[in-house]
Subunit: 206 residues, 2 copies
Amino acid sequence: MAKTPANNRSYHHGDLKETLLQASLELVSEKGPHGFTLAEVCRKAGVSVAAPYRHYRDKEALLAAIAVSGFELFYDCLASALAASEDKTYGALEALAHASVNFAISNPSRYKVMFGSDLSKVKFPELYATARRAFDVVFCTVEACLIAGGKSTDNTYSLSVSIWSHCHGISMLCVDGFLREIAMEQKVVELIDLAVKSFVGQLQEA
Amino acid sequence: MAKTPANNRSYHHGDLKETLLQASLELVSEKGPHGFTLAEVCRKAGVSVAAPYRHYRDKEALLAAIAVSGFELFYDCLASALAASEDKTYGALEALAHASVNFAISNPSRYKVMFGSDLSKVKFPELYATARRAFDVVFCTVEACLIAGGKSTDNTYSLSVSIWSHCHGISMLCVDGFLREIAMEQKVVELIDLAVKSFVGQLQEA
DNA sequence: ACCTGAACACCGTTCAAGT
DNA sequence: ACCTGAACACCGTTCAAGT
């Protein structure tokens, strides 16, 4: 008792939906996606185990909310990197590549929930929509590169997916511990540079 | 009763360890990694829920066994593709790229268990070892390309990780349903070709 | 040595009941 | 409308007991 902060006029919570999301984010960060448990989230939030069902259809829906908020953060991260880059073409592309992998390494559990949980994109369309919004930052930058180089933009989408998937692959291997021999920060940076270099080479030859 | 095949002289099972693994593989294929439950595996195998603990330390250990067997199959897949390729350099590289993504798309749940389950590579060293064995097929092919082109092989490892991660990224995005607009088989093939092309370009310029 | 039966703690979900 | 309490089915793990 008396675990609720200020808004405790009755047993009503201030904004339980948001509180549950925050508690979930903490839990996932602490114990990883596997340690995410509705019961423990409720304990953290100081409510009964039945309380979340007023705000989320089920456990999966709360997980989807974590993923969606993650994609929004991911978008912010990429948008900031683009904004901070003076060069809005190739330099920006490099900045985006580093920013995306850096996001994954800095938020491994969250990244796994975003991309790795078997969440249906049909059941949760916001998942695809927010992911797509982050992707569009890359898309626009690739387009800018092509235009700056006087190339056709017909292939923008495929090319963007290409660099996007390359960075995603690096992120996933890092996050899942498969790059043990390359785990040092400097090595990862080299790997990203390699990816960007080959991609840029491809952009320029077309 | 009478669910056990031939070896039913007593209540002893023939090779329960292997039977459990097979039942697990079926279950994962049918219901995905999320639907994998020790209790249901036991039902499939026709044994009590306590039986697996004679053969696997816990649920995680059985999951690791699934992953290990998956990496062995993955290795076979890549080795076959290499063997089937007449050209053992760039042509083989292309064949490996297609084979690896094809493996992922053909065995999505298994691929997720292999790469996506939070299995500790310290706790289960065979995981890293078998994954590494599959990777070495790519490594050797990249080396062959470098040698054929008269290039230095100093950078073989980083370059191999680069194409490996690119294919992995494509596989993961496919398997997790993030390439909706590119899900058609032909589009995926184009994407892989793009990856190989940019990688080969990089190999040749060094 | 290998498996069963029973038990325990824990989780996801539902529903009647409280404010 | 929002939350609690109690209940149910289910799962992972353990352990004594059976062969």
